[in-house]
Symmetry: C2
Subunit: 288 residues, 2 copies
């Protein structure tokens, strides 16, 4: 592939991640304003943005923007869009497709974790990215983590993702939902992190436009279904006991992210921005 | 060394760890009863013990006892004494002294983490252990993590450990306090976990009795100085803002234990008891 074509792909991918971020932030701010349920005394949340740059030299560079809102529906929601380039460490390059002999990489992506205040509203994670080494591929996914036994939330989340997948390939949903269940699993506790979703990586079918379209579809499916779930739960009353259960589930979320998550590991190993990487950690967690 | 001598060393070491556990638990329960300061409404803590056994077969076995107290001074304190044996995984055996060609191991130790409720009382960690592969050695240490800027607490803690070290070897304190500072460090944040202490490993000087005596001395120094620090701080009043600062510091403690701590990694990799390993995590933490 010509280097001009690759540059165009990079530009299109990173522009999409920023566009998606803006739509998600708008929607979440709208939800903050719509909220009527308890607690009433908190003020409406607004996203605050913070830019960061990667320690730069001839090889390494880039940066990103963290958008964080601490609101009444969203106790803490962080969205990070970053576009970075550099060289993997020799040890890390061995683990990355296409970096075995040339450790240079370029990566752009959006990642989001929402920690709603109401324990009836599930926590959610979304991440999609475009990576370029001597090869180029998309990866990402989204998964739902109900804090209390979920009713229809998980079912509707899965249905929305299945619909999105089916528009692109008959095998995608079965394959990527299984991958998600395998990935978001805490081996030390033999328990899943949540209710699952989809997870994909190394997506390079040979048709870049199709892969990009699928990646966009995942973002749009998230943008459609998660706000629906939040809106139908956010005004439900909750008890102190349910809040305590939520803090314990959030503790498990911390365990997964720090012990097992490859994205966290990737970020910390490539000198990513610590605040951006650990933005996913919950505002409060407990190990009683 | 004769196998009878090794068996005697194992028996003496594990008996000591149990003895030390009992003295520590007694002292902490006494402190719970002495407490007069706020909050008054909580009830006096008592340790509860829970035995666990390692999934056993011809090779693997052993187990331990977790002692946990949830009290008014000690919001959560866990002490685990375990004596286990088995085979390291091939990958892990490469990292362990004396296990390169024979992956069998035997290990006994005590580990403790205290999370006091009052943010003026520092968090503390103690761990000493005796490990046997084709070689045998002691390791461990203790370190203090003040939640608020420490005044004389860190100074007195260091002085007690220096005194203990100096009774055994003129170089120990300099060497082991440096090792502690290097070990209890969060590279991703470029910050120490706390105020330090001592950390040692691979202690096999050739004089087993001397090494065992030093290991006991570390435990006794802890048993002398930490209760002094707790008693002088535990009745000091504190504010909600100081409590919030404590939760953030505790979040850093979680980050260290899950991202970096070798003891946690060792435990999870060798199929240790999850509750015992993660007992170190704080009752409440926050990433605001």
């Amino acid at each position: 592939m010509s280097s001009a074509a690759i540059e165009q792909h990079k530009a299109k991918a990173s522009a999409w991640f920023e566009y998606l971020r803006d739509r998600i932030c708008e929607t979440c701010e709208m939800i903050e304003r719509e909220f009527t349920g308890p607690p009433r005394e908190l003020s409406v949340g607004r996203f605050e943005q913070q830019s960061w740059t990667r320690a730069g030299d001839a090889v390494d560079g880039g940066g990103g923007v963290i958008s964080i809102m601490r609101g009444r529906v969203f106790e803490k929601i962080g969205v990070n869009v970053s576009t970075v380039h550099g060289c993997f460490s020799p040890e890390f390059a061995r683990e990355i497709e296409g970096a075995e002999n040339d450790p240079r990489f370029w990566a752009s992506g959006i990642s989001l974790v929402a920690h709603p205040r109401n324990p009836h509203v599930p926590t959610v994670h979304l991440n999609t990215r475009f990576l370029v080494t001597t090869r180029a591929w998309f990866g990402g996914g989204t998964d739902l983590t109900p804090m209390l036994p979920a009713r229809e939330d998980a079912r509707d989340f899965h249905a929305a993702l299945k619909h999105a997948c089916d528009r692109h390939h008959p095998d995608y949903h079965a394959r990527y939902s299984k991958w998600c269940d395998e990935y978001f699993f805490l081996p030390h506790r033999s328990e899943p992190r949540g209710a699952g979703g989809i997870f994909f990586d190394q997506l390079a079918s040979g048709d870049w436009e199709a892969d990009f379209a699928f990646t966009r579809e995942v973002g749009l499916a998230f943008l459609d279904i998660y706000p629906q779930i939040v809106r139908r739960r956010m005004n439900e009353p909750w008890t102190e006991d349910e809040r305590a259960q939520q803090r314990v589930r959030r503790g498990r979320y911390v365990e997964f992210n720090l012990l097992h998550d490859r994205g966290t590991r990737f970020g910390l190993k490539t000198g990513g921005n610590v605040e951006a990487i650990l933005m996913s950690l919950p505002p409060e967690a407990s190990w009683p």
